[in-house]
Symmetry: C2
Subunit: 470 residues, 2 copies
Amino acid sequence: MSESEHIAAAPPGDPATHMDNEDRLRPEFVARVLDAVAAGDVATARDLVEPLHPADVADLIELARADERDGLVAALANLVDADVYAELNDFVREDLLDEMEPQQVADIAGQLETDDAVALIEDLDADDQQAVLERMEPDDRAAVEEALGYPEESAGRLMQRDVCAVPQHWNVGKVIDYLRSTAELPDDFWEVFVVSPDHHPVGTCKLSTILRTKRDRPVSEIMVEEQTLIPVDMDQEDVALRFQKYALVSAAVVDGQGRLVGMITVDDIVHIIQEEASEDVLLLSGVGDEGDINEPIRAAYKDRVRWLIANLGTAMIAAFVISRFEGTIERLAILAALMPIVAAIGGNAGTQALAVTVRALATNQLTGSNRWRAVGREVSVAVLNGATIAVLLGLGVWAVLGSETLGLVIAAAIFVNIIVAGFAGVLVPLTLDRYGADPAVASSVFLTTVTDSMGFLAFLGLATLAGLGR
Amino acid sequence: MSESEHIAAAPPGDPATHMDNEDRLRPEFVARVLDAVAAGDVATARDLVEPLHPADVADLIELARADERDGLVAALANLVDADVYAELNDFVREDLLDEMEPQQVADIAGQLETDDAVALIEDLDADDQQAVLERMEPDDRAAVEEALGYPEESAGRLMQRDVCAVPQHWNVGKVIDYLRSTAELPDDFWEVFVVSPDHHPVGTCKLSTILRTKRDRPVSEIMVEEQTLIPVDMDQEDVALRFQKYALVSAAVVDGQGRLVGMITVDDIVHIIQEEASEDVLLLSGVGDEGDINEPIRAAYKDRVRWLIANLGTAMIAAFVISRFEGTIERLAILAALMPIVAAIGGNAGTQALAVTVRALATNQLTGSNRWRAVGREVSVAVLNGATIAVLLGLGVWAVLGSETLGLVIAAAIFVNIIVAGFAGVLVPLTLDRYGADPAVASSVFLTTVTDSMGFLAFLGLATLAGLGR
């Protein structure tokens, strides 16, 4: 963030006029700005927006309707600066950038730090990307091109190349003089990296340590030698977990030869953590990893219909299982009313095990060391749940429908299905993870196939065996 | 974190011997330590663990079986220091603390910063809490008691009371001299807060700014006056969103009178963001907000069975709907095989809308300004999905079962159910949020009630109306 110092400016008068107490722009404030723009009253719109932080200006643009956004951005003109673009939702930003000349996009990118510039440019299609890069300053362009050379979602794309690095033979006074006299430092930095002559990081000094140490001490005496280095090709999810685990504020990024090539700061990581955790919710629910209220309707349709079609396949298998028992159902139609209960509760129990397992895998809590213990744990919980629900449902069915056999059959079927669901809920994601697949992506389709088919099979099969409807 | 400088110590020899490339302890390493402990070879166990970061020691303890943990902790002795306890999973920590004398717990708490000490003590039951507090140093005790006076999950519990605050009339040189000569500063700090004589924060100076400024400049000239202040009673979820939105590294916490009472740093916020996003996955899946592979089986059972019973209620309603059509099903049992398809796909479509809406609400993307637009968007996607699935399923049923009427009926039913699901998926969480409830908690039960009942009703109702099975 190149201007994180420009924080939450208070509006003239009461901040309560534009923000509610959860840091959301008030609907009345948004409406007032948009009405002013619609009425051609640019001055009022600008006066209202001027005190806002770039992140709030970005929110304002997102909250406007798609057809109002171009007008709003034009009216606000320079208030929509590079930092606002950096804060914008990807889908909304892409929409706005599509309308711009390559030179405008290049100007915006040139004002951002490398990581934000890359985020801006990486989603453009190849031609537009090329056109924008050609119009950037050579230095900025080189930095962005280098970053684009690293894999998507890797440390190389997240890092900024400007770092504050000092040789290990300097003393604190020399470091302070260097910091005072050098213009090309990052806007925000919290640690100084100490490097060897061949540019390998050998230690880290927090700024507070430098500030609190006498000028004549060598940095090599006060630096912390144990440090967490981030390989430039590390996946952003792993980078985020590493920041979280070791409570890092910044970390040095190194290339394959161990040379310092950049720095990642925690403010960029906070977004990744939010994103990666959201991804699990979205993937488990079958909306793809980009599900977002700003995603264009056609894209959302494409992502979601694929999942529904996959589930249609699952449902067909279950329907086929049921169809094998048509004779039994014809003779005792109440079975048709009860069977979805067995399938649905099994599905719910499986989803519970699945959610816990997926989160444990995502946060590195579940490894080869405790894999089988986790399976045992889920099965134990399933036995308890299965017994409870079997008793409740069995007694309920007996009481309401007056058939002891039917009560026993449904109790046995749901007990079996909940236990199968517990097994599947933990084994499916573990297996996907073992073979390198993302356990959140496909596990709920597999799970539902198992719990639906098994639910219907157990219930209708036992009912047939028990001679119900004969 | 009182020792975040002690980071990722490299083990003697190759770090690859104890960590895999995703920062998880290798199962072979864990087994080697546990085997040594079991064999009474404390020296080997300690040698293996000695190079680990406290966060990794905590992982090791979590990866051990519950019945191995006491032995492991005893063998490692002082290697399991206060920082390890601060990093431990809540359930595992509670288990270990239960075995300890209040004096031991008080000693551990005394070595931690206030926020970590509070996290350690807040989950103890009232008697144990009192016993521990009585054994703490008066200063530490006062700090923890004050923090415990704030609501759970509020800024007051997250903050540390040690802050670096300077009067506005000082110059940079005086600030640096103060930092050099004062022992009681926080272990980690990244910004200096400038305060008025009545202790109101009036500005913030990043340490990098102080380092890069000549000694004779007054801090009031270099401080950033716009700053984000955190009210002491703010909910931690809102604190986290504020840190994320404004890319904060630390922020001043103020009381009701606007006086500086503490500071929150981003390393504590990173955990909250992870937790809050995980909570949505867990709540939507019905495992309560504490679902975790370390949760004791009985607690997991209690949390989950409640949800299954609620879903049993939902399933009963659906069963009742079906039972109204027993006659139709008796005459045409294939309807029983097809009806779960309509309900299941509706449920899936609703879950998609639900997930997107819950995440948008949680990240403040969805407000009064775009609420109706979000509903319109979900319904549009539902119409597209519904039309696609209706055509596929209708044609499939017609082709396989040879009944044009049945194909038309199921197509119409699933179209209706997917649209109803889209409406419910967005309206249920919006309504819960509007009335102050957490939209992730109960929305999927409501949603399933709607999609199941509506699915069966539409399909069986239309089939009956169309005279199928007559």
